[in-house]
C-alpha cells in the first residue's frame, strides 16, 4: 500500500539500470524503452486509481519520522498528472523511436528518457520542499542530456544556454529551500502552509520571491523565457515532444504547490506578479509565434504562451483550474509536437496523412480552446475562475492570446499541409497512430469532461492545498 507512491519513481530507475547493464556496442534499447514507458504508465495509473478511491497516500522512505525523511505524497491531483504524463511520455517514446536517427538512440536516448520519467514523477509526487528540489534538478540534468543528445552545434549552443540559465534558477531555488528551513524549521509543504499565517515580516516575502524567480525561469515566464525556443527547436522533434510534456509542466505544478505553501497568503504581492507576468507571457508568446515562420519554433513559443495561462491561473489561486490546464496542455502540446515529428515524412498513405493532419488540427483547436476539445473545458473553467476573482483584464489577455494562437496554428497547419505533400520520406504506421490517439484523447477530454470536472473540482480544491 505505502509502496505505490514510490513505484512510479523506482520502476523507471530500475529500467534505466537494466538498460545500462545490458548495453553492448550499438544497443538501441527500442523495445526496452517502450516497455519501460508502458510499465510506468501501468504503475502510475494503478496509483491514480487507488488514490482516487481512497484519498491521499503518504510514504516516508526508510520509515523515518517526519522531518528526517524523504517524503512522498500522492494526492488525486498529483497522481492523476503522473498517470497522464506517463501515457503522453510513452507516446513520445514511440514517436521518438520511430523518427530518431540511430546514432542518437545508440547514445542512450531511452535510458536517459527513463531517468526523466522517474525524476518527473518524483517531483510531482514529493511532499516536501527539498525532495521536490532534488527531483526537479535530476529531471533537468537528464533533460540537458536529451537537449544536447547528438551534439550538433545548434544543440550544444542552446543546451549550454539552457544549462546556465537553469543553474542560476537552481541556485535561487536552493537558497529558497535553505532559508525556508531556517525560517520555518520545517520543509514539509503542508506544514509550512500552516505555519505561514503565524509569521510576518520580510522573511516569508523574501523566501517566496526567491522561489518565484526560480520556478518562473523554469516554467518560462515572460521576461525569462529566452531559453525555451532554442532548447525545444534544436533537438529532434521526438525529444522536443517529450520535454514539452514534462519539464515546464512539472515546473508549473511545483510552482502551484510551493506558491500555496511559501507565498504569504491572500492577495499577496507574489500572486499579483504571477497574474500579470503570466498574462504578459501568454500574449508575448502568441505574438512571437505569429511572427515566426519555422513551425517548430512557432510551437515552442506557443508552449511558452500556454504556460502563461497556467501562471495566471496559479496567480488567481484556483488549484483545480491549474491542474486542468496543465493536464490539457500536456496532451495538446505533445500532440502538436508529434504531428510536427511526422511532418514531411508522411509519404504515400492517405490514411497516415489524414491521421497526422487531423491530429494537428484537433490539437491546434484544443490549444486555442475551441469547443469539442479538452482546451475548451480548461479555458472555460479558467474564465469562470478569473471572473470569480474579479480579474477581467487577465481573462481578456488570455482569451486574446487564445485567438492569436488559433491564428498562428491555422497558418502553421496550412503550411504543413503543403510540406507533407511535397516530401516523400517514408514513415510507418506508428507515428500517425499516436497522433490520432492523442487527438482522440483531447476530444474525449472535451466530450466527457463535464462530470469529471465537477468531480475534480471537489477533490482537487481540498487535496492540492490540503
Amino acid at each position: 500500500m505505502t509502496w505505490l507512491p514510490v513505484l512510479p519513481v523506482v520502476v523507471p530507475l530500475a529500467m534505466a539500470v537494466f538498460m545500462a547493464l545490458t548495453t553492448r556496442f550499438g544497443s538501441e534499447h527500442r523495445v526496452k524503452g517502450i516497455i519501460g514507458g508502458l510499465l510506468h504508465a501501468t504503475v502510475s495509473t494503478l496509483l491514480f486509481a487507488t488514490v482516487a478511491h481512497q484519498g491521499t497516500i503518504e510514504t516516508r522512505l526508510g520509515s523515518f519520522p517526519r522531518p528526517f525523511t524523504i517524503f512522498f505524497e500522492a494526492t488525486p491531483a498529483s497522481a492523476g498528472l503522473v498517470a497522464l504524463m506517463s501515457w503522453v511520455v510513452t507516446a513520445a517514446l514511440v514517436v521518438a523511436t520511430a523518427t530518431m536517427d540511430r546514432p542518437r538512440l545508440r547514445r542512450g536516448f531511452h535510458s536517459i528518457a527513463q531517468v526523466v520519467l522517474a525524476a518527473a514523477s518524483g517531483a510531482l509526487l514529493s511532499g516536501d520542499l527539498f525532495n521536490l528540489f532534488v527531483w526537479f534538478e535530476l529531471m533537468l540534468t537528464a533533460s540537458f542530456v536529451l537537449v544536447t543528445l547528438g551534439s550538433t552545434p545548434a544543440q550544444l549552443a542552446s543546451g549550454f544556454k539552457y544549462l546556465l540559465i537553469s543553474l542560476m534558477a537552481s541556485v535561487f531555488f536552493l537558497c529558497a529551500c535553505g532559508l525556508a528551513y531556517g525560517w520555518y524549521g520545517n520543509l514539509d509543504l503542508a506544514k509550512i502552509a500552516e505555519l505561514q499565517s503565524s509569521f510576518s515580516g520580510p522573511g516569508p516575502n523574501m523566501i517566496g520571491g526567491l522561489a518565484l524567480v526560480a520556478l518562473a525561469i523554469k516554467s518560462a515566464m515572460f521576461p525569462m523565457y529566452a531559453w525555451l525556443p532554442d532548447a525545444y527547436t534544436a533537438p529532434p522533434p521526438g525529444i522536443a515532444a517529450l520535454l514539452a510534456a514534462v519539464s515546464t509542466k512539472v515546473a508549473a505544478f511545483a510552482l502551484l504547490r510551493i506558491g500555496t505553501a511559501l507565498f504569504p497568503p491572500a492577495g499577496g504581492l507574489w500572486f499579483d506578479i504571477l497574474v500579470w507576468a503570466g498574462a504578459a507571457t501568454t500574449i508575448a508568446g502568441a505574438l512571437a509565434a505569429i511572427a515566426i515562420n519555422d513551425v517548430r519554433r512557432r510551437l515552442a513559443f506557443l508552449l511558452a504562451s500556454q504556460m502563461g495561462t497556467v501562471l495566471v491561473a496559479i496567480g488567481l489561486q484556483s488549484a483545480s483550474v491549474v491542474v486542468l490546464l496543465i493536464a490539457h496542455e500536456m496532451v495538446a502540446m505533445a500532440g502538436l509536437f508529434f504531428a510536427v515529428a511526422a511532418l514531411g515524412r508522411t509519404g504515400s498513405s492517405p490514411v497516415a496523412r489524414l491521421a497526422v493532419g487531423g491530429g494537428f488540427l484537433v490539437c491546434a483547436l484544443a490549444v486555442a480552446g475551441i469547443p469539442p476539445t479538452s482546451g475548451f473545458v480548461a479555458k472555460f473553467a479558467f474564465v469562470q475562475a478569473g471572473l470569480l476573482a474579479e480579474n477581467p483584464l487577465a481573462v481578456g489577455a488570455v482569451l486574446l492570446s487564445s485567438l492569436l494562437s488559433l491564428f498562428a496554428l491555422l497558418q502553421a497547419w496550412q503550411s504543413t499541409a503543403h510540406e507533407s505533400e511535397k516530401s516523400g520520406a517514408k514513415l510507418g504506421w506508428t507515428v500517425p497512430a499516436v497522433c490520432a490517439a492523442t487527438a482522440a484523447l483531447t476530444l474525449a477530454g472535451g466530450l466527457l469532461a463535464g462530470p469529471a470536472v465537477s468531480g475534480l473540482k471537489e477533490t482537487v480544491q481540498g487535496e492540492v492545498l490540503r
Partner: protein
C-alpha cells in the same frame, strides 16, 4: 562565526556574478561553481552554527548529544553539493564539446556561429 559565513556567501556570490558576465566559457563555468558554493554555504548556515558536537547518535539509547547542531541542514547541504557537483561535471563536458566543435571559447562568437 555568525558573521563569517554570511560575509563569505556575499563574497562568493559577488565573485560568481562577476565571472558569469565574462566571455570565456570556462570563466562563466567557474562563476557558476562559485555561486553554487555560495548557495550551499547559505543552506548550511540556515540552521544556525554551533561548535558543540556532531549530530551523531551515540551511546546505548542512541540519543543526540546535548547542543548538537541540526542534522537536517547538513543532510540538505550534502545533497545540494552532490547535485551541484553532477551539474558542474555535465556543464564542463558540454563546454568542452562546445568549444571543440566551434573551435572557439568565446560565448558571443559561439552564439553567432550557432545562428548560422
Amino acid at each position: 562565526m555568525t558573521i563569517v559565513l554570511p560575509a563569505l556567501v556575499l563574497v562568493l556570490f559577488a565573485s560568481g556574478l562577476f565571472l558569469i558576465q565574462r566571455h570565456t566559457v570556462v570563466k562563466v563555468l567557474f562563476g557558476i561553481v562559485l555561486i553554487g558554493n555560495a548557495a550551499n554555504l547559505l543552506v548550511f548556515s540556515s540552521a544556525g552554527m554551533r561548535l558543540a558536537a556532531p549530530p551523531i547518535l551515540e551511546g546505548k539509547d542512541y540519543a543526540m548529544p546535548p547542543g548538537a547542531s541540526d542534522p537536517v541542514a547538513q543532510a540538505l547541504v550534502l545533497t545540494a553539493i552532490v547535485i551541484s557537483f553532477a551539474l558542474t561535471v555535465l556543464a564542463l563536458a558540454l563546454a568542452r564539446r562546445l568549444s571543440q566543435s566551434m573551435g572557439d571559447d568565446d560565448l558571443d562568437k559561439i552564439d553567432e556561429e550557432a545562428e548560422l
